[in-house]
């Protein structure tokens, strides 16, 4: 029982990943806002589609907030559905020396959802000065609510698919960790000439290919929905593909030899050699990733800083551990299966 602990742990963690990763709701956010540009000095009607929002609940308020923190209250606000809100603002005329184009935050707040915001543009270039007189930008602070309970961040274009983070990214981590274990097993084989070490490495390599393939497939589906293409020649896609090629070549190499000792030795040598060429790729990767679509590179938002918030970390880090443990277990089962098949195939011992 004591030796099975890590398997139970792996299964529990993966179950937790599924339950928490799929059930925790997304934060409320603004799905669509029309128009997205307002003209200074105009009266504008904004139509807002929310996601996971509760516009009909009591205590909803909205403000347009300038960069300097001054804000504007709406003239009229009417919620038609929980996720559809109409707002009317009278935007004050541009002040002298204001930039032609500026950004505004539309901040929404209610006790159920807490506060959330979206960006829109303020054009104050060719403003007819002296428009309708109305209340100007107010210089006061407001109290905002904070939502209770756990939720995942709301990101535009990603939306609910953010949950794929717990399944796609750990595949890659687990693949690399298992590849390290496989390389270590190959080194151990070369040192000890214990055929079991090589069989370990072979089973691990099989699981590495499985995880790499799963990572590619989950990533391709995710990329189709957020970037528009299944394959966009992203450095990280290339990297995983190279990893898969290496282990594919490893199995082709194994298949070319009949003699078990020779096969084990050459496969172990190739595994270590190819793995050591994979490592520089890790250093090449950040260099190439200036044009990567993956988060945390170039101008893309990083999961590490603002988007991987604490509620996501609570699922993401255990997911890596859980999938790695499951991978080790799968490799162990594969190893045993191969040992049994080997014994069955071998001629019976003469009595």
């Amino acid at each position: 029982m004591r030796q099975q602990g890590w398997k139970i742990l792996g299964v529990l963690i993966v179950c937790y990943t599924f339950v928490a990763g799929l059930l925790i709701p997304l934060k409320p956010g603004v799905f669509r806002l029309e128009p997205s540009v307002v003209q200074a000095g105009d009266t504008v009607d904004l139509q807002l589609e929310g996601y996971n929002t509760h516009f009909l609940s009591e205590g909803l308020s909205a403000w347009l907030v300038r960069r300097d923190g001054r804000l504007l209250e709406p003239l009229r606000m009417s919620a038609e559905r929980e996720d559809l809100l109409r707002l009317r603002f009278r935007v004050p005329p541009a002040e002298a020396g204001a930039p032609v184009l500026d950004t505004l935050q539309l901040v929404l707040d209610n006790p159920v959802d807490g506060h959330f915001q979206t960006v829109l543009f303020l054009r104050q270039g060719d403003a007819m000065s002296g428009g309708a007189a109305g209340p100007g930008w107010l210089d006061r602070s407001v109290e905002l609510h904070t939502a209770a309970g756990r939720s995942f961040p709301f990101l535009n274009t990603v939306y609910e698919s953010i949950r794929n983070l717990y399944f796609h990214v750990p595949m890659w981590f687990a693949m690399f960790l298992l590849a390290i274990v496989a390389a270590v097993r190959s080194v151990q084989y070369l040192n000890s000439r214990d055929i079991r070490r090589d069989q370990h490495a072979q089973s691990l390599a099989g699981i590495v290919m499985l995880f790499g393939g799963m990572g590619l497939v989950t990533g391709a589906i995710w990329a189709r929905n957020t970037w528009g293409d299944y394959w966009s020649n992203d450095p990280k896609q290339v990297y995983t593909a190279v990893g898969l090629l290496i282990y594919g070549a490893y199995f082709v190499l194994r298949g070319s030899f009949e003699d078990p000792e020779k096969r084990a030795r050459l496969a172990a040598v190739y595994n270590v050699f190819a793995f050591s060429t994979l490592v520089p790729l890790l250093y090449i990767l950040p260099k190439l990733s200036a044009d990567s679509n993956h988060p945390g590179t170039g101008s893309n938002i990083a999961f590490g800083s603002q988007d991987l918030d604490n509620s996501m970390r609570m699922v993401f880090y255990p997911a890596i551990l859980g999938w790695t443990l499951i991978g080790l277990w799968m490799a162990q089962l594969l190893y045993r299966f191969q040992v049994i098949r080997h014994r069955l195939a071998a001629p019976p011992m003469p009595r």
């Binding site: 050459l266 270590v272 050699f273 520089p280 090449i284």
Partner: protein
Amino acid sequence: MGIISQTGALVRKEFRLEWRQRYALGGILLYVLSTVFIVYVAVQRVTPQLWNVLYWVILLFAAVNAVVKSFVQESGARQLYFYQLAHPVAVLLSKILYNCCLLLALGGLTFAAMVFVAGNPVREAGSFCLALVLGSTGLSIALTFVSAIAAKADNSSTLLAILSFPAILPMLLVLVNLSAHAVGLLGGSMAGKDILLLLSVDMILMAMSLLLFPFLWRD
């Protein structure tokens, strides 16, 4: 005799052997020339970017064809004789050195052929030469070592391509990048980083080859 003098003697043996059976050299020469010609006929207008990519692809395949025979051409018994006569590492080193010279010559030849049919887009000759030197060093190390593995099997030429491409790909990405600098496609001061990266990849490959070869040669 130390490893270095043994290596020297073995390299001389390689050159002499190659010179005696010139048809192998001629075959590679024809391979490069005909590939370049096919590329020219098929593409007609070669932009600098295309030139850069085609150059390395042609060189890669020529290199695989040139290196594949390094461990296959000698019978197992003769190889065993060499391993008894000299240190096994000296045998590997001599093949790597010889292949490095061969690939440098091939690179120069491919360059000349490409310039002849498609013009010369190289602006910074220095960094292009450096890419060629570091590239042929790295290619010869990786291909020689993998050909030593592949030579143990029957279908060694197919196996060499399958086994070596994943191992070479990271290096090739940097090579294409570095020569893109030389061709003037990429600006900035990234070239120094690329050179360092190539140097370190070459060194890792060399270290791994030397470490792993003792497990490889003895059957």
